[in-house]
């Protein structure tokens, strides 16, 4: 069963990666990501979970991975946020995948420069 699902996933992934299906997203500034997009799609949550523990509990700052970094690149140019509609980067893909995320119940979804200017 597991093998079957994996094969199915492999069959589906190229189509998604190719952009012929899947959510239509406003990727914000975009550009060179910290890892390859295919890798990020599957592993961003692991990276963020690891980084958050290092930063909060050990005080290790300045990692190339950070949620603030994600938002800085991917916040929409329209509302400077990764949330708001199904075109916004985080919300759009999570709505498409049907996965709930808790990050933004505490973390700001706005680009840092904009959030600070608004204060």
């Amino acid at each position: 069963m597991k093998t079957f699902l994996f094969v199915l996933l492999l069959a589906v992934m190229p189509a998604w990666a190719g952009g012929s299906s899947g959510p239509k997203l406003d990727i914000g500034k975009g550009g060179q990501c910290v890892e390859a997009p295919e890798f990020m799609r599957r592993n961003h949550m692991e990276i963020l979970q690891h980084q958050r523990d290092e930063t909060l509990r050990k005080g290790m700052r300045g990692s190339k991975y950070s949620l603030v970094g994600c938002i800085d690149c991917h916040a929409s140019s329209k509302n400077n946020s990764v949330l708001g509609s199904n075109e916004n980067f985080c919300q759009g893909c999570h709505a498409y995948a049907g996965v709930r995320m808790d990050c933004f119940e505490c973390h700001s979804s706005k680009r840092k420069t904009v959030a600070e200017a608004g204060k």
């Binding site: 005080g59 290790m60 505490c106 700001s108 959030a115 600070e116 608004g118």
Partner: protein, 244 residues
């Protein structure tokens, strides 16, 4: 909670003397234990952040530290029982002679924090450099730490929040308290309350490394009488008060 171990203290005293001896020339050290860690470097146990509040310079009509804290950390500024407050200005009156004091009370960043002892999920923790924090990824909102804290320093977030400061994530259902502005500290800046107090010209709050015998705060603690609030609990707080 262990009582102070005198041998350990002596050992630490000697080590810091050796560290101080590593200076190449006066004022030029091989490495600094204070601000500005390299990116990716973990907080070090060589440093212990602390504050010394001079109550003789603090005035009851000034709340600049509280205002700055609220702004920096995105607190509403409300003082209802359900509003988070990270710093409270406490007014004291000696009933015998009428002497009045005003002082800010916030998380005292204990060496032996009761909030960490009681936390069932290890969300309350003490960072290597002595800052007591809540890991809200793990906090389940049980509020044991609020019960355990003798300083009433922690608050529970009762309501849904929006527009948090990107550097200070806060959310409903978790407990929070003064972080010594850890996000600023890690950038090499001073906590917001210390900066605001200095700006008023009162300079009632001195901030620095308690482990560095040459830091301004250590020198002051060596030369002037200061107290820890509820010192009888032997928590060895990082926040000290003088002129009490």
């Amino acid at each position: 909670m262990n009582a102070e171990n005198p041998d350990r203290r002596k050992f630490l005293g000697k080590t810091s003397a050796v560290v101080a001896g590593l200076a190449i020339a006066p004022g030029v050290f091989l490495y600094t234990t204070a601000h500005g860690r390299a990116p990716g470097e973990a907080a070090s146990g060589k440093v212990r952040w602390g504050m010394l509040v001079d109550t003789t310079r603090c005035s009851s009509d000034c709340k600049e530290c509280v205002v700055a804290c609220n702004k920096e950390n995105g607190l509403s500024g409300g003082t209802k029982a359900t509003d988070p407050q990270w710093i409270r200005k406490v007014e004291l009156t000696d009933k015998k002679n009428g002497r009045k004091l005003s002082l800010p009370v916030m998380c005292q960043h204990c060496e032996h924090p009761p909030c960490v002892d009681v936390c069932p999920t290890n969300a309350s923790f003490r960072r290597a450099d002595g800052i007591v924090l809540v890991d809200r990824h793990r906090c389940i909102g049980c509020r044991y730490c609020m019960m355990a804290c003798p300083y009433k320093a922690r608050s529970f977030v009762h309501e849904t929040l929006t527009d948090q400061n990107p550097d200070v994530p806060r959310g409903k259902g978790t407990v929070e308290a003064c972080t010594l502005c850890v996000h600023r500290l890690d950038r090499g800046e001073l906590p917001a309350c210390v900066e605001a107090c200095a700006k008023t010209g009162r300079r009632a709050i001195l901030f620095g490394d308690l482990n560095d015998p040459e830091s301004e705060i250590s020198k002051r603690i060596r030369t002037v009488a200061s107290v820890q609030l509820r010192a009888d609990l032997m928590l060895n707080t990082g926040v000290r008060y003088e002129g009490m």
